[in-house]
Amino acid sequence: MTHVEADKPGMHQEPDAAEASQTTASAPKRRSGLAEFWYYFSQNKGAVIGLCVFLAIIAIALLAPVLAPHSPTVQNRDALLLPPAWQDGGKAAYLLGTDPVGRDVLSRLMFGAQFSLFIGVAVVVLSVSSGVILGLIAGFFRGWIDTTIMRVMDVILAFPSLLLALVLVAILGPGLVNAMIAIALVLQPHFVRLTRASVLAESEREYVTSARVAGASRFRLMFVTILPNCLAPLIVQATLSFSNAILDAAALGFLGMGAQPPTPEWGTMLAEAREFILRAWWVVTFPGLAILITVLAINLMGDGLRDALDPKLKRS
């Protein structure tokens, strides 16, 4: 008998729980997967704001060649270190001012969005695909293959991620692509662990046994039967990795080991601007703000995704 639940409404009163029970009350007209997902996602105001900001950043990145008032790389000797337009000495043509060699900060930021999003997408694709495959293999074959893969992942996780990325870039040579490879390698153990854990949990379920009995091949079992059921935590982790990749790439750029000048990558811009911090606040402030806003938007979305996808939260 479940007395606790029914007897004490509100003992464990939580807004989420109350909302959840409200929707289960209308269970008969159960929403389709995507609509249900959107329902939960849109409950989280922060997540919706994050999504809007993120879409705006994508639009800016895609439309940078059209939107940007200046070239991101052309230097203008007549406009060195101009302050933003609203400050004394600023010019309306350079809304957010110019950098020490006379490039328009706003234009560089817009083009920089392309790099940040590209880094995020590429790193996530790389680390998710390699991580998921390794995790599936480890979870499926068990035995020494599993042990080897997991020990290697432990070793990667034993290093601070940024340090390992830094050292890898030292091996591969500085540059944006190498930085992305290094970051993907550092982030990928999380996907291996997650996938393996989900595979181990799902393998015990009846539907997997029935597929196996029905004669599904190992490949089919791995990718068609089990993988779709482990997607939720992977998606959440992928969002986290997206923002981590942007942060780490910017950090490597800042240390001079990522994208190289004159690439308008935000971290690299910060590195170039460092010596002017006490003279020209805008060259430092805006690139960092761009990083913060992008990462914050993605993390807001990540929180919303977690709430919407986490079945544990939904049930409570």
Partner: protein, 334 residues
């Protein structure tokens, strides 16, 4: 307890071997000749080259080389810096206190602020306090700390002139290091103003380094508290007529601390990664800056040694956290 510690130690061994292989392989994966990289001498005769090759064991099979390396490690030999010509281990121990001082202050700041904030947010769930705390925590969690450091420098060092821009202590003061911890050494030196100077140098780096751990700890504390506050034993504690302060601060918090301790432990890796950036920004002479500088100077012996030492530190901190976990959670102890 002892057996528990021993079993945890046994789990570390494979990771340690893996870490040592990574460090060992590092030099050999670098583009270029490892002898040239390690010796760093410009122009060298064929005889000198052969001599060095034999001295460093590069003429032997790779597995034998690894065991030589491992043997060296156990004798405390992590190679010699090309730039300073000092043993890597010695350099490490000179610089490590600076990093410990910074990291310790940061983790203290992060826990003393993060845990109460998380508890407050959980107790006032859904209120504006909760929303403000969690919103701020998410901003902190998303913060590019290298930029955050620069911003604080602009504000507090530039505009307000309150804090120094870089270093550990003003150049006015000089005293021989005793403990390596500037706060303690400055007190021991007895020089007037030295402690204040050291403290003012420490504030901004600490804040910067503490930002992300603080956010993570606050978020984790909140969710752990929310879970615990719904438990039956919290109701029991309230039914005893205990004050809310005691119910939340003792009965609930003690249980919520169990997952939080793990989170705090995991922050040590985050702190050391953060130290790389923070120490670079504030010219803080610790191992983070040491690693970055060595990468740039191509002082690969230092990078190799530092990589290994930092990984070992993280492994041991995780071990200690595991022990603490056993101490605070009676279900594991018995």
């Amino acid at each position: 307890m002892f057996r528990f510690a021993l079993s945890r130690l046994a789990l570390i061994v494979p990771t340690f071997i893996g870490v040592s292989i990574v460090a060992f392989a590092f030099i050999r994966l670098l583009p270029g000749d490892p002898i040239m990289l390690l010796a760093g001498e410009r122009g060298m005769s064929a005889e000198r080259y052969a001599e060095l090759q034999a001295e460093m064991g590069f003429d032997r099979p790779i597995v034998a080389q690894y065991f030589d390396y491992l043997l060296g490690l156990f004798q405390g030999d992590l190679g010699t810096s090309i730039v300073t010509k000092r043993p890597v281990l010695e350099e490490f121990f000179t610089l490590f206190p600076a990093t410990i001082e910074l990291a310790f202050c940061a983790i203290v700041l992060a826990t003393t602020i993060g845990i109460p904030l998380g508890v407050l947010a959980a107790v006032k769930r859904g209120s504006w306090i909760d929303q403000t705390v969690m919103g701020t925590a998410l901003v902190g969690y998303s913060m590019p700390i290298f930029w955050w450091g620069l911003l604080l420098i602009i504000l507090f060092s530039g505009t307000l002139g309150w804090t120094p821009v870089s270093g550990r202590i003003s150049l006015m003061y000089f005293f021989p290091p005793v403990t390596g911890f500037m706060l303690i050494d400055s007190l021991l030196s007895g020089q007037e103003g030295a402690f204040t100077s050291a403290l003012s140098h420490l504030i901004l780096p600490t804040v910067v380094l503490a930002t992300i751990p603080l956010a993570v700890i606050a978020r984790q504390t909140r969710s752990a508290m929310l879970e615990v506050l719904g438990e039956d034993y919290v109701r029991t504690a309230r039914s005893k007529g205990l004050s809310p302060r005691r119910v939340i601060g003792l009965h609930a918090l003690r249980n919520a601390m169990i997952p939080v301790i793990t989170t705090v432990g995991l922050q040590v890796g985050v702190l050391l990664a953060g130290a790389i950036l923070t120490e670079t920004i504030f010219s803080w002479p610790g191992i983070g800056k040491w690693m970055v500088d060595s990468v740039f100077r191509r002082d690969y012996a230092v990078v190799q040694g530092g990589l290994l030492l930092i990984a070992i530190i993280i492994m041991f901190v995780n071990l200690i956290v595991d022990m603490l976990y056993g101490l605070i959670n009676p279900r594991i102890r018995h």
